[in-house]
Each structure stands twice: as C-alpha cells, then as structure tokens.
Symmetry: C2
Subunit: 235 residues, 2 copies
C-alpha cells in the first residue's frame, strides 16, 4: 500500500523543475503575452513562455526565481504577480519527468526593454486571440497559457486587478477601457460607474483634471496603492 | 544577465519534490483535517499533512501522484480535489532545497478508513480552530494548511463547493448547515434560500421527502452531478 518513502536519495528520481512566466501587457493592439524563441533543443526555433531554472545552490526561493526571470527578460518588476499553478508529467519534456511552476505577471509595456540571450534567440509581444497565440508553442505551453488567460479574465471579472495596468492617476473612462480590453467586451458606462462607486477603491485627486477633446475629466487614484480588491459580484 | 540554462544536467541541482494533501472533512465536531504522524526524520513524532513522492520512473503525473496519496491514506477518492499551490525554498526541509505541490481534497468522512504504514505511525482527524490545528506541524505545513483553509473558505463564499460534502439527496436545511459549518458563521434562512434559487443549481426530487420531527422536508439533488458552480456574489 505504501511506496518506498526514501527515493529522494536517488537523484535520478528527482524531477526537472522550471519556473515559467505568462507575462501579460495591454498594448495599443490589445492583450499581449511575452514569448521567447528557443535557440536550443528541445523545440529549437519554437516560441515559448519565458522561463528558467531555480538557483538551488544559491538557496533562491521559488518566487525569487520567477521574479529573476521576469527581470532578466523585461528589465522591470511587475505590479501584479501571482502563481498560476504547477504542471507536471512524464510527457511534457523529452528530457525527462518535468514540472513547470508557472507564474502570471501583469506589466505596463512602456517601461519594458525586452532582453534575450543565452538559449533564447528572440523575444517579442504576441497578440492573444481567444485563449491562444497564433504560433504553436513549445512543450505544453499552449495549455499553460490557456490556464493563465482564463485565470486573468476570471480575476478581471471579480477584482480591481486592471488598475495595475494604469498609471497612478487615471480617469474613469480609462479605467473602463482597461476592463473592456482585458475582457474583450464592452461594458455599460452607468452600470460600470455604479459598481466602481460601490466597491469604493478609488478616490478623486483634488484639483487634478485631464483635458480631453470636449471637457476636462476628473483624475482618480487608488485608495490603497497597488492593492487588489475583490468584488462581491462581477463587474 | 542570463544564468546557465543547462543545470538540469547536474542532478544535484534538482529540487526534492513532494505532493502533500490538505484533506478536509466535516465531522460532527466541525471542519477537520487529516494529519499523519511522522515515524522518521526529519520531524519524527510531529504531525504533518499526508504526502508522498512522485513515481517518476512509472511516468506518474503530478495529479495521479496526489490522488494515489489520498487513496493510500483514506481508501476513498475525493468528490472535490484541486491544486492549492506550490511551496519551495531552501529552508523548509533540512534534507535540501525542496518543493511541495499541495492539493486540497474534500471528502465525506463516513466512508474513510484511515490507513497508516511506512514512515507514518498514526493518522487522525484534527479539528481546525481559526486557520490552524492545535498541534505544531512538521516542515512549513502550518503555513501551507493556512493557505488551504483560506482557499477553502473563499470558495465556499462564492461557489457550490459545499454540496460535495452532502449525500446525493439533501434538504435545504442540510445544505445551509454545511455552508454554515464551513464558514463558521450562521446565515439568514430566507436570504440563503433566495441566493440558492438564483443560482439554480439544485432541483427537487419529485415525491421524495425526508421525515423530520415536525413536518416532511423536500429532498433536492444537483442539476449536474458533482459540478461546482460559481456565484456572481457571496452566498
């Protein structure tokens, strides 16, 4: 009934473990994900989620490894960062039984300087259509990306997550536009403003207006910097 | 900027990976978690979340490993089973850099025959008070258990998850009692019944009543067996 409990002594019984990142940004073209083109086997020439190994010998934590990969590829820290899940089996990597710990990051694309090097020959933003990119991805990254996109959209429905994609001061129209572009559907303006007022997570910045083409619009900021508030119903 | 990408060739760079389970059940005493007492180092004599290694040489998937541990310890399959997260760093296990992939299971305690053997000297249900058990736990299992309890309670607020702890046919009072015992607070009866009607996930079983002390109560079943429906607001 009980399997041998001591196979960690056999190093060949240890899985390959990577951290992989679904790094999302809203660009003028919509929701995009950062992909890296592999320069080495397996899957040479394929696009993949950016990833790396854990620096076990440096006592690096799992999340530190993921944040290091993000910083290496983009030069920025993410205002929003969370673990999406773990994907592990014998088939996903031809090198052996492997496990991907996947994180999701939301970043503002303006500040990003895409980096590549080492075993990566290119890095680029790729548009998301539905729950996928146009290119086939290496390993099981298409399935992992689909999980991350679903998680992102679910969170957008129920939380203030989209504010992480706005500058510190923003108008209500800008806030609504971010929700709409992330969800891929239009929202009713008056219903949206009613929900935002109910949730009570932003405050007007006294005396700060943005000049638009017709009339000035009030600027708002978060009540609590960079926190994510859960709604009690969908947006 | 880029670390060496090939350290999977060095087996000593591979982390120790375990699957661990927070197995919850509602007993007459409330919400309880199944713990196993360790018979080996490290943490000999301490209670811990049940866990095991992945059978990498048998091409076992991550989820299959977690389900095997559940079956080994309880003799049952779980009607509700999900990944809680991954916990990894250099400090959590004195044997080396290690990673726990943690799953959460909800089971009905009636059918369970607790098993122990191998490196475990005892297995027992332990009551949960707040977000912890009375005993100190091995490794970082107290922190992992806290995360699992928070996840469970959040899901109870927003989903039909508690039906997994009921028999196939149940009354509305029984349904409400399960929500209340999982949340640790009482719910208003008419508001609860209004929400349940709105979500529309159960149907009356025609002609089936349960005889209570005063008057018969209608029995219900799920519209879709063992599915979990998300609400658009809290219960």
């Amino acid at each position: 009934m009980f399997a041998a409990m001591n196979n960690i002594e056999d190093l060949h019984q240890r899985p390959i473990v990577s951290v992989d990142l679904a790094i999302f940004a809203l660009t003028p073209d919509g929701l995009e994900v950062l992909l890296a083109r592999r320069g080495v086997e397996p899957f040479t020439g394929h696009w993949a989620l950016p990833g790396g190994w854990i620096h076990v010998d440096e006592d690096e934590s799992l999340e530190a490894a993921a944040r290091r990969v993000l910083s290496d590829k983009t030069g920025v820290a993410a205002p929003y960062f969370e673990q999406v899940g773990v994907f592990g089996d014998a088939a996903r990597d031809p090198r052996g039984w492997s496990l991907s710990v996947t994180y999701m990051a939301l970043i503002m694309p303006d500040a990003v300087i895409l980096q590549h090097g080492g075993n990566v020959t290119d890095a680029a933003w790729h548009p998301i259509a539905g729950e996928a990119t146009a290119q086939p991805l290496a390993f099981d990254h298409a399935a992992i990306l689909k999980t991350a996109i679903t998680r992102l959209r679910n969170k957008v429905e129920y939380t203030t997550l989209p504010v992480h994609l706005l500058p510190e001061a923003f108008t209500l129209s800008e806030l609504q536009a971010v929700y709409e572009r992330l969800l891929g559907r239009l929202l009713d303006k008056s219903a949206f403003r009613k929900r935002i007022a109910e949730v009570d997570f932003i405050v007007p910045i006294v005396g700060e207006m943005r000049r638009a083409s017709n009339r000035p619009a009030q600027l708002y900021r978060l009540k609590q910097a960079r926190s994510t508030v859960f709604f009690d119903r969908t947006i």
